[in-house]
Structures are given as C-alpha cells and as structure tokens.
C-alpha cells in the first residue's frame, strides 16, 4: 500500500485516505489552440515506466491537492509538494537524479509528439 505525506497538513496517509488525480503539470491548451493541442492536453499521457509526477488529493483529510513524485516500477515515493506550482522543487529534482541516474530529467519527454504530430510536452510549464 502506498503511503504519501500530505505537504499541506503533514499527515502521512495510506492510499485509501487519498485519491489519485492523474498526471501532473499538464498545461491546458489556451484559447485559439489547435484541436491537436487540445486533444493532447485532454488525453495524451506520458505513462512512463519510471519517474512520474502525479496529482493526489487528501480527500479524507484536509481535502487539498498536492503532487507526488513516484517511481511506477519500484513504487518508491521521492517526495510530495503542494499543487500550486508550475514545476517540482529543485531539491526534489536533484534527489530524484541521485536515486535514478538514467532519469530523463525535468521537464520530461519534451521531444515526444501527440498521436498526430503536434507537440504535447508534458513538462512545459
């Protein structure tokens, strides 16, 4: 069972006390964006085998959203931080880089394209 520490209230909670909210740091395509960019924001996901930044809500606690950095194969949790931010804290990025030497880094996957060729850049913030 996953245990995550809510950065807002400091409680370390099991996953049954929390609710997952999907990939973090997705930037909504703005007004006037192409259909491709809007589709990519809605549906295209990095789905990495490795380091993943994802949204969680402390739903049975303080009710606030936060972001967790987690490894999707080892399930190691590298850290959590409040959701009111556009990028992970620098010290967390450094810590992940130490632990996962082959990590592609932040922002991740910038070269990838959506199903149609339009840029989706999970890490653009």
């Amino acid at each position: 069972m996953l245990r995550l520490t809510c950065p807002h209230c400091g409680v370390t909670a099991e996953e049954t006390e929390l609710h997952p909210g999907g990939e973090a740091h997705l930037v909504r395509a703005g007004p006037g964006a192409s259909d491709e960019a809007f589709e990519a924001w809605l549906f295209a996901r990095r789905n990495p085998m490795g380091v993943h930044f994802e949204r969680w809500r402390h739903v049975h606690g303080c009710g606030k959203w936060f972001i967790a950095a987690r490894h999707t194969v080892t399930l190691e949790v590298f850290g959590t931080y409040p959701a009111q931010t556009k990028a992970p804290p620098a010290e967390l990025i450094a810590r992940i880089r130490d632990k996962v030497p082959d990590w592609e880094g932040w922002p991740a996957g910038g070269a990838l394209r959506g199903a149609d060729g339009e840029g989706t850049e999970g890490g653009k913030a």
């Binding site: 589709e39 809605l42 996901r45």
Partner: protein, 415 residues
C-alpha cells in the same frame, strides 16, 4: 507435427505419451519479414493467425519479450461476453464470441470454450435501468441477452444472497452464450496453428528500438539483433506507451494494475459467471474447482504486476456479501497484470503517425474476450492498410473528433 484426435490420444497412450512433440518451434529470426508483430499474447497471435488465414500473408514474425501468453493472456479471469451498449463494441466483441464458439475445431486445439452463461447483477435501481437499456440495445444489435428478475437469478445461482442488506439483487443482465475459455489454451492453440503455417514465433526477444526512415517504419532492434519489416504491428497491452515512445508518438493511455485471485478448489457450486459491478467482484468456478475472482484496478500508473493490497479486502468483502457460503474459504493465489486504459475505456485499433506502423492496444480490463475479433479486425487493418468496418470506429482520431465509445459508464471496471 501431428494433428490431435481421439486416435492420436489412444496411440500415444499406448506409447507412454513420448511422441507428442512440441506444439510450436523456436526458430532463429530471419533478417527481414513482411510483417513483424510485437507481442505474442492472444491479440498478437490472433492478428498473425488471421493475417495468414484471411489474407494469405505468412511471412510474419511474432516477437515476444518473455514467454508466449505470459502477460495479460495468462492473467485474466477468462470471461467471454459481448453484452455491450454501443454498436462498435457490440460488433467486435460479438465477432470474437462467435469465433470462440468453434475455435477449438478450427485450431485443432481444445480451448475449452464453455458457454455457461454470464450474469451481470443489478444491485441498484440505476444499475437495473442500465442493464435493461443494454438488453434493449443488444436486441437491436442481434446479440442474445435479456434482463432477468431476482427469482431467475436465485434459480440459476442458488448460492447467491439476493436480499443483501446493502445491495439486494434486483435482477440481472443474462447472456446465455457468454462464458469462459481456457486462457492459456487460446494462446497455445493459435501458436500451434501459426507454427504449422510457417509463421515465426520468437520468444525471449525484447524490442529495444523502432527504426523509421522518412516517416515510415523500416524495422525493429531486438535483443536478438535488428529485424527489418515491411509493416509493424504493436500489440502489447500495458507496454504500448513504451513502444509508441520508441516510434516517437504518444498514446491516450495509462497503464494500471488489475488484480485477480483464485480460491482453494472445492466441489461444483457455481455453473455460470456472475459479475457484481456495484460491489465490485466477479466470479466463476474453474474446471479444477477453484473460484476465479476478478478484483479492482489501481487508480494510478503502476507497472509492478502487483496491485494495491486494499483491493483484496474490497473484493473479498463484495463477494462474501453476495455469496455468504464462501466466507470461510481461503484464497490460494493473487496476482496482477498491467492493463492499458484509454480515455474512453475502449480499445485502439489504428494507423499511427508513422506509416506502416499499426497499434492494437487499450483493451484495458477486458481484452481476453475480444481476442479472436481483435485479431480478425487487426489483420484486415495491417493487410490492407485501411481499417475494416470492425476496426474503423476504434481509430486514434476519435479522441480528437470526440467520437468516443464510452463504455466506462456501462461497464465500470469489470470490463
């Protein structure tokens, strides 16, 4: 290689079963194939089989990073049904169900298809209306299902508790020709048939890169060296995003773990498949006597093939409430598989931004039942370069055009 028959069984019985031989070989890969299929699970093997059978293409290699049928094909709860709400899903799942009916005869391999009937319980007023709507839709689609009342549920499944305190059984959607099959045998049967047609199945051969030239796929790099191909089909379920990344595009998909369990074996107690979607548990009894039980998916990306522990408790709670008689049984095994869940929970059979590269993925939590139909439709797509009527609604473009095939409302996780 010999055909299987009553005569061969008698002959081998007299010879201490020493003469059977391997059902499929382990060839060294050639340098080039007309079609390379990545993934020797049910869907990949069925794609190769119908490419050979329906389209006359046998210059095929099916590459598998582990062992044949060792992914979700060997990890599911073996349920076969086609009682879907939307026309595109009903069409492809019913095609698969019909092909399952005589697949044993066609492949000369007993896949143990058992159309014992699938019962999907209605345990809330809302769910009752949903199943009634599906039953009406199925009439129009030509699929044999009907809505049955609680008395008939109890008559068909005497061990069920229809007066549960939380969720009494208000009826069920009943598909008499749904059922189960032996999941491994489906993969083995296709593999044996493919081997007889000269198709190469190459196990322990992981794809490490996809080579393209001018927007066109030309080959793959593998653990056994580079292999060139005219066309490439990615049929790998949970790892589809990884392979798409190698080819330079992204899929509308996330990989999560779905769990299943079997109990200790007991005497026959349940001769249909029962799915209880509101409380979330689905159950059937295998020929060995074990109860085969499906659990829940994690809500977050997980590549571990182990699920979150609390799902065990949730599933067991649901089943004990629905079938009080199993309360003192023990679970014998628990496992997980990595399922690929798309934005609308329907599969993707599609062309991709890379020419001659096709994907068949996104079957999520319900791929086993679709194997023959999926292979049939995918073979048509790969052979002709254009989707046929079965595959066309499942194109990647539906996510941009908003043409979702939204089965998640009707199917929940027990898909």
């Amino acid at each position: 290689m010999k055909g299987y028959s009553a005569w061969s069984l008698i002959r081998e019985g007299l010879r201490h079963h020493l003469g059977w031989g391997r059902a499929w070989g382990s060839p060294e890969p050639r340098r080039r194939y007309e079609v390379v299929i990545v993934g020797a699970g049910g869907h990949g093997l069925a794609t190769a089989y119908y490419l050979a059978r329906n389209h006359g293409i046998t210059d095929i290699a099916v590459l598998e990073k582990g062992w044949l049928g060792g992914g979700n094909t060997g990890r599911n709860t073996t349920i076969i049904r086609s009682n879907y709400l939307h026309d595109p899903s009903a069409a492809i799942y019913e095609k698969a169900r019909q092909l399952y009916e005589d697949l044993s005869q066609e492949l000369d391999f007993n896949i143990m298809f058992s159309p014992r009937g699938v019962m999907m319980l209605a345990q809330t007023e809302h769910e009752k209306r949903v199943w009634q709507r599906v039953a009406h839709a199925n009439v129009l689609q030509g699929i044999d299902t009907r809505f049955i009342g609680p008395e008939e549920v109890k008559r068909r499944v005497p061990i069920i508790n229809i007066d549960g305190p939380r969720y009494p059984v208000l009826g069920a959607l009943w598909q008499p020709r749904g059922g189960t099959a032996r999941h491994d045998a489906v993969a083995w049967g296709y593999a044996r048939a493919l081997d007889r047609m000269g198709v190469h199945i190459i196990e322990n051969c992981e794809v490490t890169g996809i080579r393209t030239e001018g927007g066109k796929v030309v080959g793959v790099d593998t653990g056994k060296g580079p292999i060139d191909c005219g066309k490439l089909a990615l049929v790998v379920a949970g790892h589809s995003s990884r392979l798409a990344e190698m080819a330079g595009f992204r899929l509308p998909m996330e990989s999560v773990t779905l769990q299943a369990f079997v109990s200790e074996p007991v005497k026959p107690m349940l001769d249909v498949v029962v799915m209880a979607n509101t409380v979330h548990g689905y159950i059937s009894q295998s020929d060995k006597g074990e109860l085969v039980i499906g659990g829940g998916t994690d809500g977050y990306v997980n590549y571990t093939q182990r699920g979150a522990f609390h799902h065990v408790e949730e599933t067991v709670t649901a089943l004990v409430e629905t079938f009080p008689v199993i309360g003192r049984m023990r679970l014998m095994r628990q496992w997980g598989g990595i399922v690929d869940v798309t934005g609308d929970r329907s599969p993707i059979l599609s062309k991709t931004p890379v020419e001659n590269l096709y994907v068949n993925c996104g079957w999520g939590t319900g791929g086993f039942k679709a194997i023959p139909g999926s292979g049939w439709a995918m073979a048509e797509l790969v052979a002709t370069g254009e989707p046929g009527a079965l595959a066309e609604p499942f194109a990647l473009s539906r996510f941009r055009e908003g043409r979702f095939i939204d089965e998640s409302v009707a199917a929940g996780v027990a898909h």
